[in-house]
Symmetry: C2
Subunit: 392 residues, 2 copies
């Protein structure tokens, strides 16, 4: 985004070729087949090391009308511009967002701020699959309070159109007028090319990589939204398509390819988002994951305030923490609250990384002043309640 092919060439001696598509990988001969999109010419290019950083693409279900004018997904800068162009040209009054994840919520916010009537369709019984259902309920309440009409447990069936232009979104339960529809149904790693070349895939068909970001095939590396990570707590392969993780992948792979020694640390799946003034943060393992692992854990949720109760702008915040029952070690945290809530999840992420117990977190020396926090920081308060529960 910030650098041109010319800059790569002149300042870093990197030969960047845009409008060139790799159409096959031949790991045995260490070469890739490249098609120049403008001339149509194809050639084979040799490599010593190959980094696959093909990213992921939004999932677009092939339902009737999925290619109608007004049905959009957001992934690249260009797709963002397409949404803006569609809004200006179609002048919709009704927006339907399909999918209640990060992209769905953020686009719902954008549509709300533009004054559209916003409806959000989600197949699951909750929004935000990365939250526990009780915390997701708080987000759902907030969405409704902001004016979003929320349809949980409804599945997309198709799009109604007139002259190729979207007019309504159909689900298994109803048909809703829509001048624009935004799909936020998650992403799929772009790994078909790698799979064809026999490079093993892992979780959710992402490239299986070790902690050096090496695939199982000699000289082939993977990084970014097309590659797996390892979970910090479980140590198991884990797929998370987030910019922070992709960036770390790239640094580790690049260091190793350049002859250095780098190892990708575990990821916690820490994420933050907001819809208008409502903020969400999450990190570590959620209850569903803990149950699947069969771990004995304890969870507690508290409600507190983002600032001292009497300070202007103080708002509610809910903090949920989960810890291993036997050791008390923090395993996960989730936060839903008003402005000033989300980034408090970073303290939980640091606590998990440091192996802190609920008791240790309850005694953290965190900053207090009325514009920033109640005397007991909400994370400390949650840890205290959790610590007492574990102590019993």
């Amino acid at each position: 985004m910030a650098r041109s092919p010319q800059t790569f060439r002149s300042s870093q001696k990197i030969d960047v070729r845009v409008r060139h598509e790799v159409t096959a990988i031949d790991p045995g001969a260490r070469r890739v087949q490249v098609t120049h999109l403008d001339s149509g010419r194809t050639s084979w290019e040799p490599y010593d090391d190959l980094l696959i950083a093909t990213g992921a693409r939004p999932i677009i279900p092939k339902v009737p009308g999925h290619d109608a004018d007004g049905v959009l997904a957001v992934h690249t800068l260009e797709s963002g511009l397409r949404v803006r162009e569609a809004l200006e040209r179609l002048k919709p009054r009704h927006a339907v967002v399909v999918g209640g994840g990060y992209v769905g919520l953020e686009m719902a916010e954008a549509f709300l701020l533009l004054g559209l009537e916003v409806r959000l369709i989600e197949k699951a019984p909750q929004v935000m699959a990365t939250l526990d259902s009780d915390m997701a309920t708080l987000v759902a309440d907030a969405l409704r309070a902001k004016g979003v009409t929320l349809h949980l447990e409804e599945s997309l069936v198709g799009f109604e159109t007139r002259d190729g232009v979207l007019t309504a979104v159909m689900t298994d339960k109803g048909t809703y007028p829509a001048g624009i529809a935004l799909l936020g149904l998650g992403v799929r790693p772009n790994t078909e090319l790698a799979a064809e070349a026999g490079i093993p895939l892992g979780v959710r068909n992402a490239l299986r990589v070790d902690r050096r970001m090496a695939t199982a095939v000699d000289g082939v590396w993977g990084a970014g939204d097309c590659a797996e990570s390892h979970h910090f707590i479980t140590g198991k392969p884990f797929y998370v398509a987030l910019g922070t993780v992709a960036n770390r992948h790239g640094r580790v792979a690049g260091t190793n390819i350049a002859g250095g020694q780098a190892v990708m640390g575990g990821v916690l799946g820490t994420a933050v988002t907001k819809i208008c003034s409502v903020e969400v943060g999450r990190t570590g393992l959620q209850e569903r994951e803990l149950q699947e692992l069969g771990w004995e854990y304890v969870s507690e949720t508290i409600e507190s305030r983002t600032k001292a109760g009497y300070y202007p702008g103080s708002g509610p915040i809910h903090v949920k923490l989960s810890a291993e029952r036997r050791t008390g070690k923090i395993l996960g945290g989730q936060i839903v609250g008003e402005t000033g809530s989300a980034k408090r999840i970073d303290v939980v992420a640091a606590a998990i990384t440091g192996g802190l117990t609920a008791e240790a977190v309850s005694e953290l020396d965190l900053g207090y002043a009325p514009p920033f926090s109640p005397l007991w920081d909400p994370v400390i308060m949650a840890a205290r309640v959790l610590s007492k529960k574990i102590g019993v």
Copy 2:
């Protein structure tokens, strides 16, 4: 503040006596001499355990005019009301704040917001003694940018008055018109009574206490701004007059007096404050302390943004981290920046508590979304630069 003597009595069976002053402690006989301030009557009251929670009081230098109408300090709710009353009655145009610590900065903010011309006098070469001088310079620049006239390395000499009312503040370098003067010169533990009874004092004449908050005298405990803490990193006695610490003191002392077992963990001196949109956070050891300890350390400061650069409301943030040279363990952190800066210090406090190295902090999985952070959180960026310096 939130509970009346009646509430203490009815809901907790605690006999609270206001307007009663303890005028002597007799630890040998386990009794205190109490003077009822309204009747003037004095009696001796027995105790099994005695908790000294006498707090601290603002330092008021006995310079000429220190008791003039318009010269004020803030400590209790009542002293806050006195400032408001003085502002309404004296209608000052010029406010002079003496002392550039937390109280001085926060009162400077209050006077600015009321439209007064604000001057701040500080004896030291920097404001905010708990910051390193380079970070304090950023705060000083911010104060000046907000319109505060800053006088560093100037000492208070006295107050000029007319008919007992403040007219000007005199320093060793000048005389400045002042309709109101606010003293923020720090606090002094209220431990004279304890000292007279032979109870040993420690750092800055605070009650010397062990980690159970017991003094050296059997049955006598101390908690709050009149008592010492222990530093988390050095383990040494440490005095810090902050609400968070006082609150923890009280819980530990109370648990032990009631027959439980509690130990006060170490404190990091984490503190946050703000002046208008400029926020300050600090935790752990500062360079002066590290030099006094003779520890080999490395520091780095980075400048980044509070949010993604292109996001509305993104502002500058400076993060300084210090780490032990040999181990790389984080020893301290300081942050100065625009809205959204200060509470990021909590991540540093959690990292120190977890024993994390600069390298580990540089790999923390912190939350990213454009409204909350650049892709590399500023704390991570500072840790990365510091980690490289240590690695060399």
